[in-house]
């Protein structure tokens, strides 16, 4: 966005502090515009009253993200990519997490195709209160046959609501796909130096977003993007080519760095979302594990550095899990609190016989332990000790988790050990060395739990209730 202080945004607001947006003042609202937690359309007078129209229009222009936002798909499964305003996440946050697309191809047997699509759309991993999931299907035309391609696209649409990328350099093939799928707003892949006129015409005719592909040629890439945008095709995605190995990979990284820096610095002609195709790793490696590993490595690089959408092939869990987590890593809002409030939390419906567990107030640790317990139906008391948001192992090493801290945490929470029949505190396995100190400090018995809370349910079976 072109402005970066609430004061600059405030000038365009009514200044009446009417409160219709739910904020106490226009200045408070303005600060939300700058941190992008609210939008100009959330100011009701600004959009409803004619006299503010000009201000509203100006404000919207000023607030528009530097990198254009492109929507792929429709309805609940639609995915936005791009929309970033910063080069480093600590400067604000990255918006619109990298969309992860996995391929199918038009020479697959129908049963295999359906099975693969289902695997992609069903993959899920629970993580801090929610599921990490994949996003899209990329349909590759291997046969170059428009009919086959259309049939494959149709089958994918029947199987999933995931948005699609239609992949071919042959305009007739893309057209066949669009005739089946245009209403689902797929992303076209791709216009290149040879076919760009026809692909541009398809993007216009069917009103769908389109990728421009110019491997390691940023002048051509920019030229195509500019030409498309000037002709009304604003939903453009850039593919500068993903060379998977050697100097080519280094060049690819630098192309991504250059494109994004230019875009954030205000070069509108290149300020579009970027696509990486880690799939190309499969062209460099023969065995599946090496290819999956290298594909994941390439995907990780471009998740960290500015890839907004990616196409991959491996759907092995050992590839998908790190890909999902590195994406979550980069797109977690760094402004969100690191900690939960120190307290004794009730998990399930604990009674006087339920265990009293200890963990830290680092949000990730707390939520991991909490989900391990609640999803396995363990009723207990879980104490989050104030360790300044540091995890168990590091907090024991760094002195943020001590016997005194544990005593204080229980006291501050007003927890009455007397109400427990067993008078036992269960420490995390990684805090085992505190056992003696905690016994001395609290006068309670101390048991040592497993090093990983995922093993708590099994540990409970073996060790709970404690032997008298």
């Amino acid at each position: 966005m072109k402005i970066n202080s609430p004061l600059e945004a405030y000038k365009f607001l009514p200044g009446t502090n009417c409160g219709e947006c739910g904020e106490t003042s226009c200045m408070a609202f303005a600060s939300h515009l700058i941190d992008r937690s609210l939008q100009a359309t959330d100011c009701i007078p600004l959009i409803e009253e004619k006299k503010y129209k000009k201000k509203y229009d100006e404000l919207v222009t000023l607030l528009a993200p530097e990198i254009r936002e492109v929507v792929i798909g429709v309805g609940d499964n639609a995915i936005s990519i791009g929309g970033d305003d910063v080069l480093h996440r600590h400067k604000l946050t990255f918006f619109n997490k990298t969309a992860l697309a996995y391929d199918v191809w038009d020479t697959m047997e129908e049963a295999d195709l359906v099975e693969r699509v289902n695997k992609i759309q069903d993959f899920k991993k629970f993580y801090v209160g929610d599921y990490l999931t994949l996003d899209m299907i990329a349909v590759r035309s291997v046969s170059n046959d428009p009919e086959k391609f259309a049939a494959t696209v149709k089958k994918v649409m029947e199987t999933t609501d995931f948005p699609m990328v239609l992949c071919s350099f042959e305009p007739a093939v893309l057209r066949a796909g669009l005739e089946v799928a245009a209403e689902k707003r797929p992303l076209l892949y791709a216009a290149n130096k040879d076919n760009w006129q026809e692909v541009a015409a398809l993007a216009q005719e069917f009103n769908v977003p389109v990728t421009v592909f110019a491997p390691n040629d940023l002048d051509l890439l920019k030229s195509m993007a500019k030409t498309f945008a000037d002709n009304g095709i604003e939903d453009v995605v850039l593919d500068p080519g993903t060379f998977p190995t050697g100097k080519g990979l280094k060049t690819t990284l630098n192309n991504f760095l250059k494109i994004r820096r230019a875009g954030i610095n205000g070069d509108r002609d290149i300020a579009f979302p970027i696509m990486a195709v880690p799939f190309t790793a499969w062209m460099a490696h023969d065995d599946e594990v090496s290819a999956s590993y290298w594909e994941t490595v390439v995907a990780s690089i471009f998740t960290v550095k500015y890839g907004d959408i990616m196409i991959m092939h491996s759907i092995e869990p050992y590839a998908l899990m790190p890909q999902l987590h590195i994406r979550d890593t980069m797109y977690t809002d760094p402004r969100k609190p690191v900690t939960v409030d120190p307290a004794v939390y009730e998990i399930g419906s604990p009674t006087a016989d339920s265990p009293l567990l200890v963990t830290t107030n680092f949000a990730l640790t707390y939520y991991t332990v909490e989900s391990d317990l609640s999803s396995n139906g363990v009723d207990c008391y879980l104490t989050a000790i104030d360790t300044d948001g540091i995890g168990v192992e590091a907090a024991v090493a760094g002195g943020q988790l001590t016997a005194a801290k544990i005593k204080k945490g229980l006291d501050d929470a007003g927890f009455d050990m007397g109400k427990l029949t067993h008078k036992v505190i269960v420490l995390p396995g990684l805090a085992a060395r505190l056992q003696g100190d905690v016994e001395d400090e609290t006068g309670a018995g101390v048991m040592i739990g497993p090093a990983d809370s995922g093993r708590l349910p099994g540990w409970m079976e073996q060790n709970w209730p404690p032997q008298k």
């Binding site: 480093h88 629970f126 015409a201 216009q204 009103n207 920019k222 280094k250 550095k305």
Partner: protein, 439 residues
């Protein structure tokens, strides 16, 4: 058809449309629709208004088309859409590409180089190492086009002075050497291509074996005998015992320019710093995910303990993928950016305890403890990639040296970081054929 239709002719066209009922709609001279609904539109009304407005605009567009204006292009441009009648293929082709030259400037703010720190000493410098390792020296974020990176990334592999609990897929590589730190060190250098070795003296912890510092120092001597690469010496992490352990280790390693791990704010860092300066070693400045604490400790090491700038490496803490890597990444990236922009309390090379990735359950647990999860697949493939992605991510934040455990992780991390560094050649691949690739 008249070429002379005037705006006044609009009225005649509009007559045919049922717009009279639309109160509050007026058309001004500049063809601007003025919709003053007052108290808000209900959806049905809004739809009706929208429909009528669209009808009007179609007629106005027809007028414009008669006047020879390229209406269709305008529509496409302003609405991202196309006119109702699809153009015959080729009819509306964009004739040619607009010329464009891509250009981007280098970062002028990155004006301060990162300090170079050399570890290990050869016989020329009074040591017995075959080679040295130099970290740091960057003038830009790693692998960036703004400036060549002077030194590649290095991996130091972990060796322990006693058997420890390890993930199964890590342990199976070390079964034969687990009771002998010297053999263990040899193995990681010879078989696993480690650039350096870290000897962790964990048995010195009073809560473990309480091995006396003097005895632990003998293990350091054994390791220095066994390998000729530079080494890192780690304590047990016990803040009371570590200064003494590191003092004795520093003494026996005199002349070898080891890295002492570590000085931190929660132990007697002065003793660790003095052990380093007295015997010509470098010191690892370890803080926990807090840039200001890192500044404070570095400042104390420099000002209060007189550690030379070329003898400080930072460990700002590594949290594993899925367990706080976002904090670790951003903390390192901020530290490196601050250094490049001139904060001389942060212009030091960085080290990562990448081995921490093995604490993540995804790397070692047989299956997910949560029933709702999809199958996690074989853990022997999950573990190494967890360590690789954790390290790779931090390499992009500016980390120079990686402390690691699994041979596959080390091999892949070295290959990827050296690829990005630019020293790995590979056969060029024709990626324009990727769509049709048979895989």
């Amino acid at each position: 058809m008249s070429n002379k239709m005037k705006l006044s002719g609009l009225t005649d066209i509009l007559k045919d449309l049922d717009v009279q009922s639309l109160e509050g709609v007026t058309i001004e001279g500049d063809i601007e629709l003025d919709i003053s609904g007052g108290g808000g539109l209900n959806p049905a009304m809004a739809y009706a208004l929208g429909h009528e407005a669209a009808q009007i605009s179609m007629h106005v567009a027809n007028i414009a088309r008669m006047l020879g204006y390229p209406v269709d292009q305008l529509f496409a441009a302003s609405m991202g859409g196309v006119p109702q009648q699809a153009p015959v293929a080729g009819a509306s082709r964009i004739p040619e590409l607009l010329p464009a030259k891509f250009d981007v400037s280098k970062m002028s703010e990155w004006a301060t180089p990162i300090q170079e720190v050399t570890l290990g000493a050869t016989s020329a410098d009074g040591g017995s190492r075959k080679n040295t390792v130099t970290l740091g020296g960057e003038n830009a974020l790693p692998y960036y086009f703004d400036a060549e990176m002077p030194h590649r990334n290095y991996v130091t592999m972990d060796v322990f002075d006693m058997p420890i609990s390890m993930a199964k897929s890590v342990k199976e590589n070390y079964g034969d050497v687990i009771n002998d730190p010297a053999d263990w060190a040899k193995k990681v250098v010879k078989d696993f291509n480690a650039d350096m070795v870290t000897i962790h003296l964990i048995s010195t912890d009073p809560l473990i074996d309480d091995t006396p510092a003097r005895e632990a120092a003998k293990v350091v001597e054994d390791v220095l005998q066994a390998v000729k690469v530079p080494i890192v010496i780690g304590g047990s992490g016990n803040p009371k015992k570590d200064p003494e352990v590191l003092e004795k280790a520093a003494e026996v390693a005199e002349g070898e320019r080891v890295l002492l791990a570590s000085a931190s704010l929660n132990l007697d860092y002065e003793r660790v710093a003095k052990a380093a300066t007295d015997h010509g070693h470098a010191v690892l400045s370890w803080t926990q995910l807090e840039i200001n604490a890192q500044k404070e400790l570095n400042r104390k090491l420099m000002k209060q303990c007189n550690v030379p700038r070329d003898s400080i490496v930072m460990d700002p803490t590594t949290a594993a993928l899925g367990y706080g890597l976002d904090y670790a990444y951003t903390n390192m990236e901020r530290i490196r950016l601050a250094g490049l922009m001139g904060d001389d309390e942060l212009t030091f090379p960085m080290s990562s305890g990448t081995t921490n990735a093995w604490g993540a359950r995804e790397s070692w647990m047989k299956e997910s403890p949560l029933k709702q999860d999809s199958d996690w697949g074989p853990r022997e493939y999950r573990g190494p990639i967890w360590e690789i992605v954790t390290g790779l991510t931090l390499s992009l934040a500016g980390n120079d040296m990686f402390m690691m455990m699994h041979p596959t992780s080390v091999q892949v991390l070295k290959e990827i970081t050296q690829t990005l560094y630019g020293s790995i050649e590979a056969e060029e691949i024709d990626i324009t054929k990727w769509i049709g690739a048979e895989v």
